[in-house]
């Protein structure tokens, strides 16, 4: 009896200690539960994404001819040395970086312009926004092949249009000098709407007070979009650049189905060259190159996320002041 009344007469600090113990056990229980809920996904991802990547990593240190697996063996860094000695490898890296930089830059600029146009209040704007998303949903295969049809030198729509305007017929995909820029046009056609719609969502999530204040201050038109909107949607812009950059470096389907890296090696982007190495039967070499692409992408992702988080943190500190 006395013991119980003692318990009820515990000092306030001891009471809060009890509460915090209870809280801690609840939190521990929650964490266990969280892992339980995550577990299926984690198992699948480790088994089906990370494990294959590790296998790929191991393969990259082996010679492993597709058509003669009996001679497969460990060869250390030889695959990487072979790659670094290969002029086509360096050419493919150069082209991939050129491709990613140009394509993403064009898509960001055009995408922002398109987003500004789609930001208008007018009848039917909802319909326009839905229509413009269609290119994003077209498969790279269907798109690559139909663009080949449009770029046909003799019967294609593109050359008819060019000659209608009074220009010389253009060689588009079929010449070393024009194939790369033609592919860039196709990629920009597909992905600019994607960039535009995300930026549009960013623009529309800006609080109405800001836009109202800008209106009262008579900040309008170009100044409004460059001085007010652009800085406010900076985080969204960074994320879109990251997504597009990674996908541009990884690009395979479109290039493979239209030019297969040609003519010559004018469109030999990294993934396509990697596939050609596979076709030649050098599985170890293919894995090694794949791994280098993965490292390149990871460097970019880490750099980007770092700057993104730093700016976000800075913004938060700014708010606290």
């Amino acid at each position: 009896m006395t013991a119980r009344s003692d318990e009820t007469r515990l000092s306030p600090s001891a009471g809060s200690a009890l509460v915090s113990v209870a809280m801690r056990s609840i939190r521990a229980q929650r964490r266990r539960l969280a892992y339980f809920l995550m577990m299926p996904s984690l198992v699948v991802l480790i088994g089906l994404s990370i494990f294959p990547a590790v296998v790929s990593g191991i393969l990259s240190f082996r010679v492993h001819p597709l058509y003669n697996p009996n001679v497969a063996r460990f060869i250390g860094w030889r695959n990487f040395e072979d790659l670094f000695d290969d002029a086509r490898f360096w050419e493919s890296i150069r082209l991939t970086i050129l491709w990613a930089v140009v394509v993403v830059a064009v898509q960001m600029v055009l995408g922002f312009l398109l987003a500004v146009l789609l930001d208008r209040k007018m009848r039917g704007i909802g319909l326009l926004r839905s229509l413009i998303i269609i290119p994003v949903f077209i498969s790279p295969i269907a798109m690559g092949l139909t663009w080949r049809f449009i770029f046909e030198p003799v019967t294609g729509l593109a050359n008819w249009f060019v000659s209608q305007l009074g220009f010389e017929k253009y060689s588009w995909l079929s010449h070393i000098d024009t194939s790369m820029s033609t592919l860039m046009i196709v990629d920009c056609w597909q992905w600019t709407p994607f960039v535009a719609l995300i930026l549009l969502a960013g623009i529309q999530s800006i609080s109405p007070e800001v836009t109202e204040a800008a209106r009262l201050d008579r900040v309008r038109g170009v100044t409004y979009y460059l001085r007010i909107i652009l800085p406010l949607i900076r985080p969204v812009i960074m994320v879109v650049i990251l997504l597009r950059l990674v996908d541009s470096i990884r690009i395979f389907d479109l290039v493979f189905i239209t030019t297969k890296g040609g003519p010559g090696s004018s469109t030999l982007l990294a993934s396509v060259y990697d596939y050609i190495i596979f076709e030649q039967g050098h599985l170890g070499l293919m894995a090694a190159y794949g791994f280098l692409i993965l490292i390149l992408i990871n460097i970019i992702v880490v750099l980007f996320l770092n700057t993104l988080y730093r700016t976000e943190k800075a913004a938060r500190l700014e708010e606290l002041k």
Partner: protein
Amino acid sequence: MRQSGLGRVINGLTVLAVVLWLVPVVWVALTSIKPANVINSPTPTFFSFTPTWAHYLEVFERFQFDRAIANSLIAVGVSTFIVIVLALPAAYACARMGLLSGDGWALFILSLRFMPGVVVVLPYFLMANYFDLIDSQLVLIIVYVAFGLPFAVWLLRGFLLDLPREVEEAARLDGLGWLQIIFRIILPMSRSGVAVTAIFTFVFSWNEYLFALFLTYDKATTIPIALQKTIDLYNVLWGSLSAGAVIQLLPMIVVVFLLQHHIARGLALGAVK
């Protein structure tokens, strides 16, 4: 809203931009119903021709589109379903349970989305070969689950962060277990988020090419592989290609119009949150 002259011009510009942007899509749709001689003539014809369904018949008879569509629907449908069932609890754990800072886990999972296909296609090929799964729907389902899951968790987490916590707390007080809360309370409340996530997962696999190319060759081939056969060493059939492309795109367009508002929001969430 007051419309100045300039405003009208910009409105017109907006419409023009969208219409011009879609010219290639319209052109392909028109090509799919043109007779072959019209398609191959050097001067393009826009509307003055007698429409024909010949190309649509051809893709089914000659390029086995019926089988390709069935294969795509099975592989993509089943994998999308599995992805959602797996992703919902994981996204919930990331969004609500303060798991080692949910952000860290979510970022880790998202980073797997950046895996280039060429890095893992070879191990998949070797493993599928080892387990005798080449040219089966099962192997495609496995691949599409692996590749769909990271983005699905990321996207769903964004939607779940938006839900009010009170409802869940009330449900917990009523004595519902976590799985019950997730599938009986959260799932109905985040219907549009789940729908958008399912669509993006579906589209990705529906359009996927590299893995289908490596892991199937006959029985289990999907639409992109069948489409590719209309333009290869043996055929250059622009009409059949266009018909096939329309068939592949049509379900996507229907979905876009059914869920237009949600899709833009989903795109933004996936990128922003």
